[in-house]
Symmetry: C2
Subunit: 362 residues, 2 copies
């Protein structure tokens, strides 16, 4: 005999016995049903507390329409972008007393199928799918099950076989690019170039289109878009291309909108090395608002924030709404949520918030 | 009537009907029990496939000793350190067909209690607690429940009320500090200084003790430990203190072991600005092996890796072992897992692995 086996958990029978009432009375008291004297209710609740009685939610789930559980499938490992999204989802669902199953599909379709099967076998009320990038992915294969699904920071293409499309919550990257560029133009910059990531990313295309739209709306000078890797090294290289010894001085950009904070940091360091001042000679704006980069760049980096935690919260809320309404309800397809420009010292704008003086971190 | 309500999920009765067998035969066929003709088994399985039948794991859980679910409570939000740990945990538990409930306690004791209650009400078989830093925290309050708990990248103090201590899996930060320092000494460096984070962190103390032990074992020159913030700015400041104009040239360090990659990057940039070469004049080693910093630092940064994904895997495996053995079994208390030095170009050692030439990223 293993003496260390877990002690039997207290049941409602134990509570009834402890309180000296019948099983039916104990049940009514704990569920707030029926007509009981207040003294009886209190006595049963006190007994339940003493015994550390917890209703068996697993058993309750079987007799309810809902299991009060939800799954999150991340198609990527837990990464920098999926993390705040998952945090927002968990925040909303946890507050609604939904427990969240977390599944890491690691970009492996077989693993994703295994997770979907496990979630459906556990009778989850809904599933949120999230990923590392916003590009389209195949729809989750649910077989015959009709469980509501919401995509967050990822999307599925239009599926003609589905009468109702699943909602896909995405950052408004077009708006983010437009906002950053307009901000630089409003500050009086006249030649804004855009240094971004690989063009195969939808986000890269949308940010560039936003940049172009803002230039066009302002009647600004000829646009210039450079594509490369998502790295500081590419930022350094791009700045060297633009401002190196071979460049014609009269056409040099006076502002750079970068597709990521990492690129912006590489750009800024290369500008320093070339003897150019940020923001006096060249203003710089990044994207992602990733604190380890915005704070470490000198001067601190103005950046576009995709509000991913809020995006996760909205995905969680939308899933709860779909669970209540049934899976066929609600608006589907891509939904773009606004980005937000966080102004620091690299763009040359007056900063209202309390931020470190750029000179003190030099 | 809402026509979009989910269709009723197929039951084992539907499968029996579809296959033209009795309920008992269908059950035996799907569970691989009893004596049936192979043709019957195949017919039932084919019917189950056609109907997309999935056994109701929720119902099965009620009749089993185990619910085959496990909880992860992160005392921090999903952060840079808890992420790889959670990934490792989920990897092991997912492979063992355990579904994982994810709970974010956000450093809030009330929220943690709410999550613990929800997990116990769902009859999880065990719980892993993880966090943002390795320092001691209060034990999870399980009340009367006896569910195995494993702590990963966090620990609980010795609790005299518990006959058996919970296992706490931690990186061997003493060993990490010793390994980094010994590596620099072996390369011929003679004056190694240590620039680290706030001394209130247990990890900071352990790394410093490892550094001191390595110096002492080698009979090396007087140790020098500087404490500051976990930031690049502190790294820059510390390097300026050590190598600024007021420093006596004959006692300057020829190597710096840094308590984080962020500190190491700030150090490296300040050394460049002072006209010192890395690694020729000063070798630099970081801690965390965080790719966005090790790759962006010039030259690329040698760093100590805490193997957090592996630590998570081991925590998951230990929890499975405890679930099998009962909560009173197994070794408890802190268990330190080895760190690993990843050699790149900042320390001056020959690099065997294929790594980018430091000159090409300059």
């Amino acid at each position: 005999m293993n003496q260390n086996r877990p002690a039997r958990l207290p049941t409602i029978k134990d509570v009834a016995h402890e309180a000296g009432v019948s099983l039916g009375t104990a049940s009514k008291a704990l569920n707030g049903q029926g007509q009981l004297r207040p003294g009886t209710v209190e006595r049963v609740r006190a007994a339940a507390d003493r015994l550390h009685f917890r209703p068996n939610r697993l058993a309750q789930s079987l007799h309810r329409a809902n299991s009060l559980t939800v799954g999150i499938i991340s198609t990527d490992s837990f990464g920098r972008f999926s993390m705040p999204v998952m945090e927002g989802i968990e925040d909303v669902l946890g507050s609604a007393e939904r427990s969240v199953f977390m599944c890491n599909a690691a970009d492996d379709p077989a693993r994703e199928k295994m997770h979907v099967d496990a979630l459906l076998a556990r009778r989850v009320d809904g599933i949120v799918v999230t990923g590392r990038r916003t590009d389209a992915r195949p729809a989750l294969n649910l077989g015959a099950a009709r469980v509501p699904v919401v995509y967050a920071y990822t999307q599925v293409g239009h599926d003609p076989g589905q009468t109702v499309q699943a909602p896909c919550l995405l950052p408004d990257d077009f708006g983010g690019g437009e906002q950053a560029t307009r901000h630089l133009l409003t500050l009086g910059r006249r030649r804004v170039a855009h240094i971004s990531g690989p063009p195969k990313f939808e986000a890269v295309q949308l940010r560039a289109r936003g940049y172009l739209a803002a230039l066009s709306a302002a009647g600004a000078a000829a646009p210039l878009v450079l594509h490369g890797a998502w790295s500081e090294a590419w930022g350094r290289e791009a700045a060297a291309q633009l401002f190196g010894p071979a460049s014609a001085t009269d056409a040099l950009p006076d502002a750079l909108f970068c597709g990521s904070d990492q690129i912006a940091r590489g750009v800024t360091e290369a500008l320093h090395a070339l003897g150019l001042r940020v923001p006096q000679d060249v203003a710089v704006v990044g994207y992602d608002n990733w604190d380890v980069f915005t704070e470490a760049t000198r001067p601190t980096l103005t950046s576009v924030d995709m509000n991913l935690r809020d995006l996760g919260r909205q995905a969680g809320q939308r899933l709860l709404d779909l669970i209540d309404a049934g899976p066929g309800q609600g608006l589907g397809g891509p939904l773009r949520l606004p980005c937000r420009l966080v102004v620091r010292h690299s763009c040359g704008a007056p900063v209202n918030e309390e931020a470190p003086d750029p000179r003190s971190s030099a």
